[in-house]
Symmetry: C2
Subunit: 289 residues, 2 copies
């Protein structure tokens, strides 16, 4: 595995791989890798010939009172995991390399980026879509891989690539979970032993909502309310939101049909956790994905 710290270096390595006829895969991460990231790497290894994993804790997607400074980092461990996973290039730029002067340009999905997590984190998705567009331009991958756990993020990036004709395919990889259902996340490290068992309530609320859908209920407001109560009643957990939205508009739906997302977010101690389930409703049928 090669490590590139500069944009020029990673571009050179990608150019060499392209010249050798290889297709390029990109896995953008903020590091502190877990099994969810390794599933992205595995999917990229399967789907493309030459895989670049980027590790960049992007300051512009953190709000002023969020955890940028304290976001967990362990590059030495990440390097070993990537090496073992068959990553070809680790792109590890500094903040100065990515932002040599203050950005005048933003790439934004104003409507879709202000709902759900965007309501609690108003500048978050602008930072995400802008930095992802930079990473796509730097590596020009055939395919880029994102986790379904960050459901709104993946949908925004898909829409950005469609709207702007960016010549990369966005692949979404299913959420990897702990044995009790908790979605793997770098931020799970913030959970104390006491808090940890309660964090599964996000997964449980989603599963119960899915069960309600399978029983034939099609009211978005009643299912959202069921999830809210389930989460709000859990000790040590503070609800941020629980919504049932259209996967196209990300707006809450009353009459449920077609491609939907059940999306939840809650604070458990210092950790803000998110999770979601994506379903397609066709008549009485509830189809995964």
């Amino acid at each position: 595995m090669r490590i590139a710290q500069s944009i020029a270096q990673v571009r050179q390595l990608v150019r060499e791989a392209r010249s050798a006829g290889k297709s390029i895969g990109l896995v953008p991460t903020m590091g502190y890798l877990h099994d969810g990231h390794l599933a992205l790497l595995k999917a990229a290894k399967t789907g493309t010939d030459f895989v670049v994993v980027s590790i960049f804790v992007n300051p512009t997607q953190f709000g002023p009172n969020e955890d940028f400074e304290n976001y967990p980092r362990d590059v030495a461990r990440d390097e070993t995991l990537l090496q073992d996973g068959g990553c070809d290039v680790l792109f590890l730029p500094s903040v100065e390399e990515m932002y040599p002067k203050p950005l005048a340009t933003t790439v934004e999905l104003a409507g879709l980026g202000q709902t759900l997590c965007g309501a609690s984190r108003p500048t978050h998705f602008r930072g995400v879509t802008t930095v992802v567009s930079k990473l796509l331009h730097i590596t020009m991958p055939d395919k880029a891989y994102f986790g379904q756990k960050d459901g709104q993020q993946a949908l925004l990036i898909q829409r950005m690539v469609f709207d702007l004709n960016i010549p990369s395919e966005i692949v979404t990889v299913p959420t990897v979970r702990e044995a009790d259902g908790l979605a793997k996340s770098s931020r799970n490290v913030y959970l104390t032993d006491e808090e940890r068992p309660h964090a599964t309530v996000l997964y449980k609320a989603l599963q119960e909502a899915k069960q309600t859908l399978m029983e034939g209920v099609r009211s978005g407001t009643s299912i959202a309310e069921e999830m809210r109560q389930r989460i709000a009643n859990e000790p040590m957990v503070v609800l941020d939101y629980a919504e049932v939205v259209s996967r196209d508009t990300l707006e809450p739906l009353e009459k449920l049909e077609g491609p939907i997302m059940l999306a939840v977010a809650a604070f458990v101690g210092k950790a803000r956790l998110i999770d979601n389930v994506q379903l397609t409703l066709v008549g009485d049928d509830v189809i995964e994905g």
Copy 2:
């Protein structure tokens, strides 16, 4: 010359040229071509091996009361001019091809896009930078060519490409002028015979301001005011703005030094005309460009 009406078609033609080892040049236009556009084509022919000219009257860069519907169009004449000029591909997409569904994504330079022309046309540059990013993604040129006449536009696009790491070089080509100095523009067709002689006041005001700079004056406010009075006093001409700005921030400067732009805009009858001069001030020296 090939004509591509779909994105898939132009991409295929570019891919074939790339496979043959050719470098790609892009000249984005709104058609109704004049000598200014042909200078862009010529520069692209010199700088790259395979030139795509796009003609697309982009609705998103026109305000609600602007001239989108009446913008001059003559595709048959444009085709002949491009054929004669040695263009390889004319990309001629429909509005539906470029915007198959309403855009959720915008690419914006909020600060730099709200001054000068952006003050009079608040959504204009958002439309420009978004559609140019689409055209760059569609054709992935080595170099893209823009006229210096649209000075703010060229600076915004250069900054966008820098900020987002878009792998294309932006080349600015000097303004082509009529014998009396009026900058060539598709919108000059709006001028009546009576109005036409007065339209040269933009050029004259810029040249007089440049002369004042060469005499050693370095006050931005006094030079801007001199240009404003010169334009406002011309019959049949209504001043929009006249400013002396930093080429980096596009903000008006008081003490003039380094790379600056003298920029003017005025209404002459139905036509809104713009013009500019780019200079670099080093001590007593006034350097073109």
